[in-house]
């Protein structure tokens, strides 16, 4: 018997079709739905390409430009301004750190206000959550532009922008951490004669602190990325130099700056994930 199962099956295809008709029968309703979906997606895409002025000639010449740009990017070089760029990079990290921490400090009390089990009033916690949604819904670049108007160009506007956009996210995450906390330790503290403040300090905070710390670290990680780009609109950090060098078409400096950003982001990712695992344990990484 050198025949494989496949050969046997193919040999008896007619018989198989006759005996197991329901397996081979096409499900026309599903097929039509799928086909209609695909056509809808494609028609919308075609309309989009037409409306947004896509053209193959533009794409072709653009790709040629990009190839030219990439060829000019090698070798990456700091263009003799390495100290300046290192300083800008420190500034970026400072923006990320201070923005994240300020947001965490401001959001900590608000997280309690937005938690169902702390503030039982449904209107109060609904209102607080919607306000947090608004802070979260505005992009960090928009916040940066607004704060430039308020406090002027520079890293301080960047710190405030990161604070504002993370304030919304932290408020939501903290309130969720508080809501999922086990209430039995709280009852235990109250039962042994503790006040509400004691319950907060010895029952609630030990439960939520590791979760909150790991979330703050995770956001610090992602804010290092955000802090590199808010400079593009003028809010301090390395992004300012990146946008500048792209404008003057210094491609090898651009490549150097992008590499610097990638390396720093990788280092911060590594350090912060190590710290997060140390705080919360490898299994329980909650985001």
């Amino acid at each position: 018997m050198s025949q494989t199962l496949r050969d046997v099956a193919l040999h008896d295809l007619q018989g198989l079709r006759a005996r197991h008709g329901e397996v081979f029968a096409a499900d026309w309703r599903r097929r039509t739905a799928l086909l209609a979906g695909i056509i809808l997606v494609l028609v919308l895409a075609a309309y989009g390409f037409w409306r947004l002025d896509f053209s193959l000639t533009r794409l072709g010449s653009g790709l040629g430009q990009i190839a030219h740009m990439v060829s000019l990017m090698f070798p990456p070089s700091p263009g003799g301004r390495l100290p300046l760029y290192l300083q800008a990079l420190t500034e970026t990290l400072a923006i990320a750190l201070l923005g994240t921490l300020t947001a965490a400090v401001l959001a900590f009390p608000v997280g309690f206000l937005a938690a169902k089990n702390v503030v039982p009033n449904i209107f109060a916690h609904f209102a607080v959550r919607r306000v947090l949604d608004i802070f979260r819904g505005v992009d960090v670049l928009i916040w940066a532009l607004i704060f430039i108007n308020v406090v002027g160009l520079g890293p301080f506007a960047g710190i405030l922008a990161i604070t504002a956009s993370d304030f919304g996210s932290f408020g939501k995450l903290f309130s969720e951490a508080i809501e999922t906390a086990d209430k039995r330790p709280v009852e235990g503290v109250i039962a042994s004669g503790g006040t509400r403040l004691h319950a907060l300090r010895f029952a609630l905070i030990p439960q939520i602190f590791p979760v909150i710390a790991s979330q703050v670290l995770y956001y610090f990680e992602s804010n290092t990325r955000s802090a590199t780009i808010i400079g593009i609109v003028g809010a301090g950090g390395i992004g300012l130099h990146l946008a500048e060098q792209i404008r003057v078409l210094e491609w090898n400096v651009v490549a150097f700056l992008v590499l610097m950003i990638l390396v720093v982001v990788a280092i911060i990712d590594w350090v912060s994930s190590r710290l997060r695992f140390a705080i919360i344990g490898r299994a329980g990484v909650v985001l």
Binding site: Y47, R58, Q65, Q87, T90, L101, G137, D139, L249
Partner: protein, 294 residues
């Protein structure tokens, strides 16, 4: 012996107590050490970030002032006309919002297509060759680590101003982000259908079509919808660097201090983002419902 208390010998008690004190002291020391590191970092960051608390305190009134100027003059008696004046440029803004949505849509679509083709090469269970896996994983990593706005800046130089660089920047970033998620989904599939397909002599494309796709399709769609949500937010700021959409109007309004325009455009963006979030959430829940049904 009911009623009698079992007493620990005093020397053992003393030993346990001193061990407890030592443990608490060690924990306190760690906390203090960690806190002082953090404080030092904050101090350094404050210097590097040019934080000037005195200046902040003396200019703190600018915040409420700015917010007050964002609020337009609305009166009850003349509400309709006031509202019309606030949203005076509504037609143009809605057009630009539609452009923004299309940029996000096309960016997501291209990203999904790209991620779909790359993700199978980045999985441990479907790609036996280590070098290919390594290269495709690093490629995805590069695509998602470079911020989309940086790609947009580069593409604006290469393709010229307009929506096209925005779409391409979103697409590249989406390839990276979705490719990673898709690969994780594929790595978690049940391998028995794959073995079955391979056993009947199916080639790679046939295996993916008949054994992998049915298992991952709903998860892929769900992630794609989630990405669309994120891309709508990002597309709204693509205009800051000249890559199309509503961002162009917003940046002009903010820079030129057209306060009520800023609040009007921000409200439009927020409303759009919220509607998109609601719609995609509904779609995703329905998708998961379809998945659960036997």
């Amino acid at each position: 012996m009911p009623g009698a208390l079992l007493r620990v010998p005093p020397e053992q008690l003393e030993h346990a107590f001193s061990a407890y004190t030592a443990a608490v002291a060690a924990k306190r020391l760690r906390t203090v050490l960690g806190l002082s590191c953090l404080l030092a970092a904050i101090g350094l960051a404050g210097i590097a970030g040019e934080v000037d608390l005195i200046k902040l305190a003396s200019n703190i009134d600018r915040f409420p002032n700015y917010i007050r100027s964002l609020v337009p003059a609305l009166s009850w008696t003349n509400f309709g006309a006031d509202l019309a004046e606030w949203f005076w440029n509504l037609d143009v803004w809605l057009q630009l919002l539609a452009d923004t949505l299309l940029i996000a849509y096309l960016g997501t679509l291209l990203g999904v297509v790209g991620a779909f083709f790359v993700c199978f090469f980045a999985t441990a269970n479907l790609e036996p060759h280590r070098p290919i896996r390594f290269v495709s994983r690093r490629f995805l990593e590069f695509c998602r680590t470079v911020p989309e706005i940086v790609f947009a800046l580069l593409f604006v130089v290469a393709f010229g101003l307009g929506a096209m660089p925005g779409v391409l920047a979103l697409a590249i970033h989406s390839v990276g982000a979705l490719g990673k998620l898709f690969a994780e989904v594929v790595e978690n599939i049940d391998m028995r259908p794959v073995e079955g397909a391979t056993a009947t002599g199916a080639n790679r494309v046939q295996t993916i079509h008949f054994a992998v796709l049915p298992q991952v399709a709903s998860n892929f769609t769900s992630y794609a919808l989630l990405r669309f949500e994120i891309n709508v937010r990002t597309a709204a700021v693509m205009g800051f660097v000249g890559a199309g959409g509503i961002g162009q109007e917003l940046v002009v309004a903010i820079r030129k201090f057209y306060y009520t325009d800023v609040s009007a455009i921000l409200l439009l963006i927020l409303a759009t983002v919220m509607v998109i979030d609601l719609v995609t959430e509904q779609l995703r829940h329905r998708l998961i419902g379809v998945e659960r049904r036997p």
